[in-house]
Symmetry: C2
Subunit: 322 residues, 2 copies
């Protein structure tokens, strides 16, 4: 396994009651959960849907469960993410809007053959107008609603594909996708700007240039249509004005996140608070950007929301074998 | 050689008076020119600056001249593009704005050692505020001014990095760079949108969906800040509404070119005509987009303008050995 969230306790296999899995395009994350809801262990690997062939889905999952399985027992697993897409293990057909993020009767069982575990998959959401889809984020919203059952308002979920959702009456009414994170990675690693932005640590780098980030966000908020004419400045400021790589990197991030806020203005304008669900430090960067727009961000950890959403799904089924 | 613009006539070597060269990051193009200005032959290879080490510059150029060189003669070559950058063969220091596109005394000689050819390189342009740089486009502007000495106004030069320039009194007063072409290539070939846009022929594909392109341009012109929220629709329209790959590809192109026009609105608004210098069919796509913005595009062929600019540089030096 590529990464451990912490040292595992002994004898996980007897203590684990079920496994939560977030299985996306680039990553497979699993958590061993005790009967009382305690997280016994967490693992993450690069065995995402995007690098696996269909015949490798079950072996990859089984490998991630090493030491958690017992002879003669079928371990229940609840999964979310691209594992339920048409190109995934089994298609979990989309829920149509408006919809609660969690519809227990719509979980779909994956065709695991070993008998050592049983996998049920959360369906994603589909919006017809404008066309849009998501998978995985519905589970984090279910986690948010488990913690705040009366939540209404706007949720921003930054990432490779940022998602913005409107919730009312415990239902998702609309959502939009922004390619912000993917565009940052492509521009920082593959475009001419790569010569200027230094190493690809993203916002996690220690030498984050906060003023350069804030200035770029402000430029996009005050001149929302200007993105295409500003991106090359990330390179040219270095050539002409000696801009440092950490400033260039923060500037590129600020221009793109600012452009996302500009594109989503109708969603946050008039809201005093937007809930942001993300890993750190990305969530904090969006919090800073939103504060420049006069909006307070309420930050939630992405992995915690995923876990809470899968736990809510397990509880909602009322099925201890799930 | 990878590509010939036409069948070469016999005995080029005795007829060629000089060679014009456009040597950019990804491509080396050379034209054999007769004393009367006639183009005797044209060649293009992938031996751009980006794939060559410094010790390969002279051999790569010499290989491109095969059959054009004579024993005992030093063939004059005039070159433009990234060959004159700091990472190129020899740095041709930038001209500062405002500047004519062509300053004969600022040509820089490359350190060719064989004695079989002598290479002089056009300098690019540098702008301090906002910081920006260009190399190669100055030569095309020199070509435009050779054909239209009284030209004043705005020039749009679409490409990997689109350049917009303002000309007055035969001088370039300002310019801006948009990453439009590079972003199209990255998104169409490397992002999640690649699953939706089909093969990478760009706007050259025969099944270009003109209505989808026009609709996307119009969306960006009427909602200039919306790019980040619209890009994923290129994928989602396919998943949810069955959009065809040629429509998706044209839509992606239209969103990005529309976003470029939105970002450059101050440059074209109020101008009845913008001169567009580009290869086809890219120039025609920009012409269509500009017409949707109420502006008439006057189209010029990019290679013809480069040739005319290098010929103007040769004439301006008054040096037959150049």
């Amino acid at each position: 396994m590529a990464e451990y969230a912490g040292a595992e306790t002994c004898d996980i296999a007897h203590a684990v009651a079920w496994v939560a899995a977030d299985w996306g395009t680039s990553c497979l994350r699993v958590w061993a959960i005790a009967a009382d809801g305690a997280v016994l262990a967490a693992r993450a690997t690069g065995q995402g849907m995007g690098v696996l062939s269909p015949e490798d889905f079950e072996p990859a999952l089984e490998a991630s469960l090493e030491g958690w399985l017992l002879p003669g027992r079928t371990l229940p697993i609840l999964a979310c993410g691209m594992v339920g897409s048409r190109q995934g293990w089994v298609e979990a057909p989309y829920l149509d809007l408006p919809s609660p993020p969690l519809v227990p009767g719509r979980l779909v069982e994956a065709p695991a053959r070993s008998g050592r575990f049983a996998v049920r998959i959360m369906p994603g959401l589909r919006q017809v107008a404008p066309p849009d889809v998501l998978r995985g984020e519905e589970t984090q919203v279910a986690g948010l609603l488990a913690a705040e059952p009366d939540f209404e308002g706007v949720v921003c979920m930054p990432g490779t594909h940022s998602k913005w959702l409107r919730l009312r009456g415990s239902r998702i009414e609309a959502f939009r996708t922004c390619l912000t994170g993917e565009m940052f990675a492509l521009l920082a690693e593959h475009s001419v700007l790569r010569h200027s932005v230094g190493q690809p640590e993203g916002v996690a780098q220690t030498s984050w240039d906060a003023p350069a980030f804030a200035a770029a966000v402000a430029e996009m908020l005050s001149d929302p249509g200007s993105l295409m004419a500003r991106l090359f400045s990330v390179r040219a400021e270095g050539l002409v004005a000696g801009q440092a790589p950490e400033a260039a990197r923060a500037r590129l991030s600020g221009l793109l996140i600012g452009a996302e806020l500009a594109a989503m203005r109708d969603w946050w304008q008039g809201n005093s608070t937007v809930s942001v669900i993300a890993a750190q430090p990305l969530g904090a960067a969006y919090g800073t950007a939103l504060s420049l727009a006069g909006v307070t961000a309420k930050l939630h950890d992405g992995a915690a929301m995923t876990l809470a959403g899968l736990a809510a799904a397990r509880a909602a089924t009322g099925d201890e074998t799930l």
